[in-house]
């Protein structure tokens, strides 16, 4: 049987739950052995939507599910062209929709990166691109880069896979950069529950964000990563959202420091999705200074 999944007209973070619900049944398995993705209604897709779509297709392919694309548009609209420019169609069908697709300078296009190659990608692609967009030198990016490195370490240590998708998008009209990273591992709630016992995914994902809480998937893990991510992004005026299993975690800056909350979702996200939104005008970055001796 073929399950038809109509991509929503506006494929953004708000549509993730419904999209996932269409693809994955309540038992956590794909709804059919073949999934047809129908692009005919798609009018808008952002970086998160694109990352979720790639991650889901990867998850389906890993489960030997056949994926079919139905474009259904005689003339390609701007967002299919955008996806084509990001390399989406070439990645999955080996053929771009247009012969002369080109990556835009507002995009670091979606890429699946394994742990071993993530550092090289960070140094040779992410860092120079971000320096230009934020108009800062690379020393200002140390903490932000560390956040992303921590996520790649989490993918390696906590998930059953060693690779994740990353997509970075600059939105000039709203002066913001969004960084979306996703993997298809077992997810944060499942790891936390294994260590701390049964609880809702909502509680598990909130617990995981606190400093010192770790699933101990690796003996030397001390539970720094998600707290570090939350603090670093919020101190730069940004927002973090994490979808994993049935849990959604949101962290934003507020007058008292950080506003962290979590929600129980109706649909299970297959793996973990981290989305970082950075308003460019509020980006401060790291303090610059001479290298010094560490004082205990």
């Amino acid at each position: 049987m073929v399950k038809q999944v109509i991509l929503p007209p506006d494929f953004n973070e708000k549509e993730i739950a419904k999209f996932i619900h269409d693809v994955i049944g309540p038992d956590g398995f794909p709804r059919e052995s073949e999934i047809l993705f129908d692009f005919s209604k798609l009018r808008f897709v952002d970086g998160v939507g694109l990352t979720v779509l790639c991650n889901t297709i990867d998850w389906l392919m890993h489960k030997k599910i056949r994926c079919i694309f139905h474009i259904g548009q005689k003339y390609l609209n701007d967002y299919l062209v955008y996806m084509d420019d990001c390399g989406f169609f070439e990645k999955y069908t080996n053929t771009p929709l247009r012969p002369h697709r080109a990556v835009r300078d507002t995009t670091l296009p979606i890429k699946k990166i394994d742990h071993a190659h993530s550092q090289a990608w960070m140094d040779f692609h992410f860092t120079p691109w971000m320096c230009i967009k934020l108009n800062v030198n690379k020393n200002k990016l140390s903490s932000l880069k560390t956040c992303i490195n921590e996520i790649f370490n989490n993918i390696k240590d906590h998930s059953s896979f060693n690779e994740g998708f990353i997509h970075v998008q600059h939105y000039p009209r709203i002066n913001r950069i969004d960084i979306s990273i996703s993997d298809i591992g077992v997810g944060i709630p499942s790891n936390i529950k294994r260590k701390y016992g049964e609880m809702s995914d909502k509680d598990a994902i909130l617990k995981a964000s606190q400093e010192g809480v770790t699933s101990k998937s690796h003996p030397n893990n001390m539970g720094i990563g998600l707290d570090y991510l939350s603090v670093t992004v919020a101190s730069n005026g940004g927002r973090v959202s994490i979808h994993s299993g049935y849990g959604l975690y949101l962290c934003r800056p507020d007058r008292n420091g950080l506003d962290r909350e979590s929600f129980q979702m109706d649909a299970m996200y297959p793996g973990t999705l981290v989305d970082i939104q950075l308003p460019i005008e509020r980006f401060i970055g790291d303090e610059e200074g001479e290298e010094e001796e560490f004082e205990w």
Partner: protein, 100 residues
């Protein structure tokens, strides 16, 4: 004895890279020698690296011994913050039991 981390690992990123540095430090600590670890040229480190390279030493040595035998030099602000964060966090875990 000075260990310049970039002479031994390309990045301060992974648990495995941390393990490499810890092995070098442990070689010296085993003979009660003092170690200076230089982060010259390193702009950022992850918690996985710090935990694996240095915090894991708490399994063999107490914090007083570590503080008196290891110096960290040429550390950037981010490296310094991460060292402090990881050791503070680990010491909460290694607090001795309280007899009531």
């Amino acid at each position: 004895m000075v260990i310049n981390v970039l002479n031994h690992v390309p990045f301060c990123f992974s648990t495995e890279q941390g393990d490499t540095i810890r092995a070098l430090v442990e070689e010296k600590l085993a003979y009660n020698e003092f170690v200076t670890v230089s982060f010259s040229g390193v702009s950022e480190v992850t918690s996985s690296f710090i935990n694996s390279a240095f915090v894991a030493l708490l399994n063999s040595y107490n914090i007083k011994f570590i503080k008196s035998h290891i110096r960290f030099v040429s550390v950037s602000k981010q490296v310094s913050d991460m060292l402090r964060r990881c050791f503070d966090n680990a010491q909460k875990e290694h607090l001795p039991p309280v007899v009531a």
